[in-house]
């Protein structure tokens, strides 16, 4: 299993922004513990590595792989399958791998529209109207680029996943705690949680960690936070009409946003056992609207300007909806 006596560690980024990697590096001197306990076998963002080196490894040769990013194209899927084969423990790391995150919002659009947005909107300087070609004849031969999938998939929609670590990105102290745990397991001082568990997060929701005072909820209006002239710093934001996602979002972040005076936007994903985060939140908000008059209810709901962004910003790809129908059926 090891070459230098140390177990192997890998980290990979698929369709993601790179924030997860930064968060890992952000764990400070804990990174030295990683080095002391693991051999970094494959981590493209941190060191040079070739896919063929991984292919050459024995199956199960890597002890721990943190996989961040969603599955947007053929290459993402291929490496996911490869790392699954080579890893004993595969962790869906960060919101993109767990539930699709911001890249997953592209599932609301047809693939063609996604490409149009990237290559031919007014803000794009593309004088030759270049478009990616999957196969291109070069003097040296035909080169291929990976196929763009119709929709973005989460990691577990493509391969079997052992653990989920939510967050956009996961908080550094939670990463450090998980690394500590794995090291303890290596030394026989702790046990791994059951397969399929969510790690590096709490078991309740953000409200649990939020210090704001709350009452029985009676919502008369929803407003965008920038439209509130003066926020009460001590009162629950939801009760002030700011659509805070705290009630539905798994805790683990330490309720950073509501403490900083901004609403929780849900980056830690659904609570334990919740299958569709957006649906849960919609029912919850709908339950506390304080009106029986259909017209007034309609007006109150209009206060949420972007329902998809409000309820599915991080979890569309992993939700029961998964995608808008045209995207789902989109062919390239």
């Amino acid at each position: 299993m090891t070459t230098n006596g140390k177990p192997k560690f890998a980290m990979y980024w698929a369709a993601s922004c790179g924030g997860c990697e930064i968060a890992v590096l952000n764990i400070g001197e804990k990174i030295l513990d990683v080095d002391a306990n693991f051999e970094v076998a494959f981590w493209p963002v941190a060191m040079d590595a070739k896919y063929k080196d991984v292919e050459a490894m024995e199956d199960g040769a890597i002890l721990l792989t943190l996989f961040n990013g969603g599955i947007r194209n053929e290459e993402n899927a291929e490496i996911a399958r490869l790392l699954r084969r080579k890893s004993q423990i595969l962790v869906a790391f960060g919101s993109c791998a767990c539930e699709g995150c911001i890249p997953g919002l592209a599932n609301l659009s047809k693939p063609q529209d996604v490409l149009d947005t990237v290559y031919s909107t007014v803000s794009t300087d593309n004088p030759n109207a270049v478009r990616p070609q999957y196969h291109y004849q070069m003097p040296e031969g035909v080169i291929h680029i990976p196929t763009f999938y119709p929709v973005l998939k989460t990691l577990d929609q493509v391969v079997d996943v052992d653990y989920y670590m939510p967050g956009c990105p996961p908080e550094s102290h939670q990463i450090a705690a998980v690394i500590d745990l794995v090291i303890k397991v290596l030394h026989g001082e702790a046990q791994l949680p059951a397969k399929g568990a969510t790690i590096g997060a709490g078991n309740s929701t953000v409200c649990d960690d939020c210090p704001r005072a709350r009452n029985v909820k009676l919502i008369k209006k929803f407003v965008r936070i920038q439209d509130v002239p003066e926020l009460d710093p001590h009162l629950c934001l939801l009760e002030q009409g700011v659509p805070c996602n705290g009630p539905a979002t798994r805790n683990g972040c330490g309720a950073l946003c509501p403490q900083a005076g901004a609403q929780c936007i849900g980056c830690y994903g659904p609570a334990e056992g919740v299958i569709d985060y957006g649906a849960r939140l919609i029912t919850a908000f709908a339950s506390v609207i304080d009106s029986n008059d259909p017209a007034e209810i309609e007006r109150i709901l209009d206060g949420i300007p972007d329902p998809a962004g409000q309820f599915y910003r991080f979890n569309l790809a992993g939700s029961l909806l998964r995608a808008a129908k045209p995207a789902w059926q989109g062919k390239l």
């Binding site: 909820k217 334990e272 919850a284 339950s287 506390v288």
Partner: protein, 674 residues
């Protein structure tokens, strides 16, 4: 058709029973094939036996299940038949008899949800398989549960003191059990107290009603709260805690002898909009009518000179027993009851809404209730049937049926009593004035005992019947003889001609409508209304006085328009149901309950205000929510609302629901349903 399988190690042993329901299901679903399919294709899911049978609910059908439980050692039972509303209890009880915990038996509907709603036999058969596959997956996740046993309080609350409520209260009180009756008005009696005669026998309404009212007032087992309303209902069947607001009467009931001197001396006259339908006056201190029960008057504060201007107190000065007490305040009283009967009756359709009939605009257009007062010997005209001027007797009277009823613009339903009431009016007009009477009807509805005979009698008395829906009532004369008259424009659909009939008086048989506050009252008591607003019975045929909320019963016109005999019958029926409950001494409640996983609860308080049964408690100190299992009715509202997924409900756990969906979609099977 029967298939028996050997189960696998560690799996549940499931029996599947598919009912033909005569031809109700078998006519649209190939039940034999479905049973065979379940035996073969669901073998891997643990189905050890699958049978079909003509009537699963028959004793022979139930015995099939009982025998299989004993002989094949079934650990789960799935019956595919009618709606769980109908027979879930039947099959659970059958399982229990054979020693299987009743909650390990599930009923899925292939009648209401399949055979009755489809016309394609092949598709219906395939859907039945899906429904059964879903049921099998769900029942695997069932857990043995024990019902909650709670004692039943012997007292009953009756809300509404019309004839239906009076009947219910007397039955219960005579059986020896305590009753609290709450009536909103100063006196009980309801609508019937306003009538002179009642169809079809023309009994004097007061003569038959007032003895019953007096019995209620005097009964040692009845505590009467008039001028009162229920403001809060907590608890559940057997153990309701009800808060009653007893509005200040400003008359001390201990001292008042009901002599009526205050009413005589009070200088303030007020138009009586309720009892006299606006045709007569009462005083600011009043009882609605002389035979009122209780006899104590109330002071109508907004109209009392003393309350409004600070001086008067004539009533106080003249009251021989010093019963007037201007310092009284509303009282809130709580009572504990085991069951509740709602008998809040109806409101009359507002005839102003049919603008073309001119009520409110044309003086001599009257509503039915106005006519009741006009014809009542104790009414504002001492029973003289006269025009709005108070003196002129009409020579011709038109009675229009179905005003606001059977009309797409207002109410689609038939108000049941209006035809008979229109006939009663025709008879009274004939008898008292000798005027020519026309009844305008769409269809004549005189079902029930002695009703059609009454119709024949009125025909023989010479009332003229015109079949057709009246288009308009107008005072715009066009033809000779119409001057100064009300002209009824109508298509006579029997003669096939348009007619203009001049009359002096028009009476509108306005329909019955749910009480204006019916929806709020329903919410207060946790029951449901139809779209019209009538309270919904548990079963339209088999359980007409119970509601879907245990312990809450309905009687009389709250449930829908009906006549006095039916209202009385329902009052008695509701009390019989309550007596049955009381005699049981205790009740077994479904253990379908929600509970909060405290570790998952974030204390967000989303759920705190949602429970229709007030079962949710929030602990400020620990910032967590808890559900009181005795109050929870398992409605699921909070389960759906909790964004943290911290609340789950027995029998409807996420696991069970998702397993059922997987089964329905065929995800647990190798082959698709066909």
């Amino acid at each position: 058709m029967t298939t028996e399988n050997k189960p696998q190690e560690g799996q549940e042993r499931i029996g599947v029973y598919v009912c033909h329901c005569g031809s109700n299901i078998a006519g649209m679903v190939d039940v034999e094939h479905v049973a065979k399919w379940a035996g073969e294709e669901l073998k891997d899911r643990g189905v050890v036996v699958a049978r079909d049978y003509k009537f699963m609910c028959s004793s022979l059908g139930q015995e099939l299940i009982e025998n299989d439980i004993k002989e094949l050692g079934l650990t789960r039972v799935l019956v595919a038949a009618c709606s769980p509303h109908l027979h879930e209890q039947t099959f659970r009880t059958a399982s229990a008899r054979a020693g299987l915990n009743p909650y390990l038996t599930e009923l899925v509907s292939i009648r209401e949800q399949v055979s009755w709603v489809h016309t394609d036999k092949q598709a219906a058969t395939a859907k039945s398989k899906a429904v059964i596959s879903g049921g099998v997956e769900r029942v695997i996740h069932h857990e043995p549960l024990e019902p909650l046993v709670v004692p039943i309080h012997e007292a009953t609350l009756v809300v509404g003191g019309g004839i239906a409520g009076i009947q219910a209260a007397l039955e219960l009180a005579d059986a020896g059990y305590p009753v609290y009756m709450v009536e909103r008005e100063p006196s009980i009696g309801g609508h019937m107290a306003q009538f002179d005669k009642t169809f079809p026998t023309l009994d004097c309404a007061a003569c038959i009603l007032t003895p019953r009212m007096v019995s209620v007032g005097m009964h040692p087992n009845i505590k009467l709260f008039t001028w009162s309303e229920v403001t809060k209902v907590d608890g559940y069947v057997g153990n309701f805690t009800v808060t009653i607001r007893k509005k200040a009467r400003y008359v001390n009931e201990e001292l008042c002898t009901g002599c009526g001197i205050c009413q005589e001396k009070c200088p303030k006259k007020v138009i009586d909009e309720i009892y006299e339908a606006g045709l007569g006056y009462r005083k600011a201190v009043y009882t609605p009518f002389p035979q009122a029960v209780p006899k104590f008057p109330v002071i109508d504060r907004p109209n009392c000179t003393y309350f409004q201007k600070g001086t008067c107190k004539a009533c106080e000065k003249f009251c021989p027993t010093n019963a007037i007490d201007f310092t009284q305040e509303d009282e809130y009283i709580t009572v504990e009851v085991g069951n509740i009967i709602l008998a809040t009756g109806y409101d009359l359709f507002d005839a102003r809404r049919v603008t073309q009939y001119g009520y409110g605009r044309l003086a001599n257009v009257f509503t039915s209730i106005e006519f009741e007062r006009l014809s009542n010997a104790a009414g504002p005209t001492n029973g003289e049937i006269v025009l709005r001027d108070g003196v002129t007797k009409p020579d011709a009277v038109g009675i229009i049926h179905c005003v606001g009823s059977r009309d797409r613009n207002f109410n689609n339903y038939c108000s049941v009593i209006c035809c008979m009431q229109g006939l009663k009016f025709a008879h009274l007009v004939h008898e008292r004035t000798g005027a020519t009477v026309y009844n305008f009807y769409i269809d004549m509805r005189t079902a029930y005992k002695a009703y059609d005979e009454f119709y024949q009698r009125v025909l023989e008395e010479g009332t003229l019947f015109v079949r057709g829906k009246v288009a308009e009532v107008t005072d715009a004369a066009r033809l000779p003889g119409e001057e100064g008259k009300l002209i009824i424009q109508v298509e006579d659909t029997l003669a096939g001609i348009q007619r203009r009939i001049p009359v002096d008086m028009v009476i509108l048989s306005a329909g019955l409508e749910p009480r204006r506050d019916a929806k709020e009252v329903a919410k207060l008591f946790g029951i449901s209304c139809s779209a019209d607003g009538w309270f919904i019975e548990k079963h339209p045929k088999l359980d007409p006085v119970a509601t879907m909320t245990e312990g809450i019963f309905i009687a009389g016109c709250v449930q829908g328009p009906k006549d006095i005999p039916s209202s009385v019958a329902q009052g008695a029926a509701a009390s019989a149901r309550v007596l049955g409950r009381i005699r049981q001494g205790h009740i077994e409640l479904e253990p379908v309950r929600a509970s909060v996983d405290e570790a998952k609860c974030s204390g967000c308080r989303i759920c705190n205000n949602l429970c229709p049964f007030n079962a949710i408690i929030f602990h400020e100190d620990r910032m967590v929510t808890e559900i009181n299992p005795a109050l929870c009715q398992g409605c699921g509202t909070c389960v759906a609302a909790c964004p943290a997924g911290a609340i789950s409900g027995t029998v409807f756990s996420n696991e069970q629901i998702f397993a059922q969906i997987d089964g329905l979609l065929g995800l647990t099977l190798e082959h698709a349903f066909s």
